[in-house]
Symmetry: C2
Subunit: 443 residues, 2 copies
Amino acid sequence: MPGCRNGWRSGWRWEVEESMKTLLIRQVLLNDTIRDVLIKGNRFATIASSVMVDADQIIDGRGKAILPPFYNAHNHAAMTLMRGYADDIELFAWLNQHIWPFENHITEEDVYHGSRLAILEMIRTGTVFFNDMYWFSRATIRAVEEMGVRAAIGRLFIEDRPGHILPRNLAENEVLEKLSVHLSDRLQLTFAPHAIYTVSGQTLCKIGEAARAMDQRIHIHAAETLREVEHAVKEHGMTPIAWLDRCGMLGPKTILAHCIHLTPDDIAILRERDVTIAHMPCSNFKLASGQFRFHEVMEQQGCRVAIGTDGCASNNNLSMLEEMKFAALSAKGESMCATVAYAQTIFDCATRIPAKAFGIDAGVIEEGRLADAVLVDLSHPLMVPNHHLVSNWVYSADSACVDTVICNGRVLMANKKIPLEHEIVAAAQETCIRLVERIRTTK
Amino acid sequence: MPGCRNGWRSGWRWEVEESMKTLLIRQVLLNDTIRDVLIKGNRFATIASSVMVDADQIIDGRGKAILPPFYNAHNHAAMTLMRGYADDIELFAWLNQHIWPFENHITEEDVYHGSRLAILEMIRTGTVFFNDMYWFSRATIRAVEEMGVRAAIGRLFIEDRPGHILPRNLAENEVLEKLSVHLSDRLQLTFAPHAIYTVSGQTLCKIGEAARAMDQRIHIHAAETLREVEHAVKEHGMTPIAWLDRCGMLGPKTILAHCIHLTPDDIAILRERDVTIAHMPCSNFKLASGQFRFHEVMEQQGCRVAIGTDGCASNNNLSMLEEMKFAALSAKGESMCATVAYAQTIFDCATRIPAKAFGIDAGVIEEGRLADAVLVDLSHPLMVPNHHLVSNWVYSADSACVDTVICNGRVLMANKKIPLEHEIVAAAQETCIRLVERIRTTK
């Protein structure tokens, strides 16, 4: 089974003894100071100017900075298979003529290979967690378990008529339910109804109740397009946000993807219900959905905003580095003000804020926290000069600056090398060739 | 002298015999077909399914695609020294309190080291040419000659009162004039008056005459901010574009940086005069200058648009890859239409169009053209799957996908390695530390 060399053995979980090892990062830059960072098991144990221990693994941190990695608030990981498959097309032609026909041919095995490619790209760009919504998510769980990252995996719900969830969803979600007791602590399940225009109010109410009963998160697209808003007003006599509130879907464990078209009342509801907005500026610009009002919604009205990338069909990558820059710059452009959306604010929206929103005790490099981190190459031209680390990271860096990625105490990439990368890429390539061939021969 | 190992010997120019060598790239992907590409001297000589020659240098092109590299239409290269030095600040506070005090302390040697860092970054991100405007440009010329890229270097003009060009400009431009007969064919000089609010009409008229007499290009900032437009209307009774036209500054060899705030009449003038607009969306968003109307100005009204990055103080990198994505997505966002600014259009604006605008016989991979190229790693996760090469390049790639860079027949980066990189980075770091120290002690 792929992933063996990483410690993967008889099942889908890392061996327990692996996670009890110690890892020492020597002489790394942390908050403007050179530090030794000792990780025991899956947590930061000691951070000091010098740590004298005999660790199982040692990383030379000289010339590198340690930063919290990224937590991607909204994704459809396996859509990496569709990167570059259909661009520059109007939304509904894009869905009807390209995306949905493609998805009709996707198998569970395809989703596995697409998810592995996605996780590979995420590790390369410094991301250790993603909040996912897609088909065949058992295959995504398998990829997550094998490759050592974290994820929130959605039980997808779409209806073909009000009150009638697709049998496919029900079958897949039943599989997830059985699997849930076997998941590692890097994984959580969420309830992921697709949107208010594909899931009826009665079903949303039931989902809301189930999520509260199980104390799990809800993940749904909301207020992405003007068409959605118009539809909600026509059907329900209220905005999508007000409708979701009426259905009992909004609370501190709710993640709403997009939230572009908001009224002042919507913003007040989002703040009062303490929901998390997942903000994906690249996707919003590429699909011309509209411009999220970051400054107003977060900085003036105090809503919680976490950055995500959306899937590769509408981005077309999963780089949170690129997304941070896009988020900062589009916020300044939208508000016509250069002094909004500071680099540090945007960095928080990609690290500390989403980590907390998903209940992950990480997002800052501190003793006692879960040991998630990136080591950044400070001598890469994009990071030079070192006037301001966070500014360079948000406004200048790309994946070439990411040297090492650690998740839950385990090194997933060291010196820009990821185990099995060539095999994962080759399998994804072959998967796509076969998929496109199947689509062609069916036409 | 730095650069010796690259063939640099007694002066500022590559040795002539070096450029007569042959370079064979074997089995590389070109326009969906595997090809051998033979370069003789500084031009593509033979492109065929198989080229059987005994070349001086051979590159294995398997698993790679060959593409034209980037031509950056507007830059202030040495401002890499200011990357991350001052962000998220209102424009005039930014200039008065940070940028200008910094620049007051910059020496010619600093500009040399900043330019080398900039060129290093440009090579890493696939760029072989930049259109520059800055102080001490003799030092930038030195860096360009040594490192093997191309550039258009501006004779800078700024006035402290109407008709009175800064003595510093005159002295520096005199140096450039003496140097001009010694420049390699990778370099050209331009006339670069800073803007209409820093150079008077009488001087602009004289510069226009001189540029026409010498058949050289003009490079100026124009219509970047609403404040500039308001000032022009108040001072001259017309828009910045109309004023530049009145001063005889507009023609096919004029490059206008920004052009955000345009009237329909301005657009008609730009089209009729056949000028090139340099479009820098990252800088425009970061400084909240406004949103360039790409679809209207280029796709509907037929003006020529070339993409640039601006300097690192307002971007904060020189990646044309990132800038292409920003240009495509911001055009869709601004026009609220997903079907504008296709990937291929944007790619042309970063390659073929600027190459032609600057009189460089390159920008496409064809026999007889100047041998400028990038080799792209097709197995990098960001380039997988390979549904559509140009889409992946514009919407997904970052510098980690750039494997090899060739300019004027010479390999500047091979297998992601650039000669003297560590030395260049270290010198730039030291330069910045000294500069910041000088600024601190003077305060």
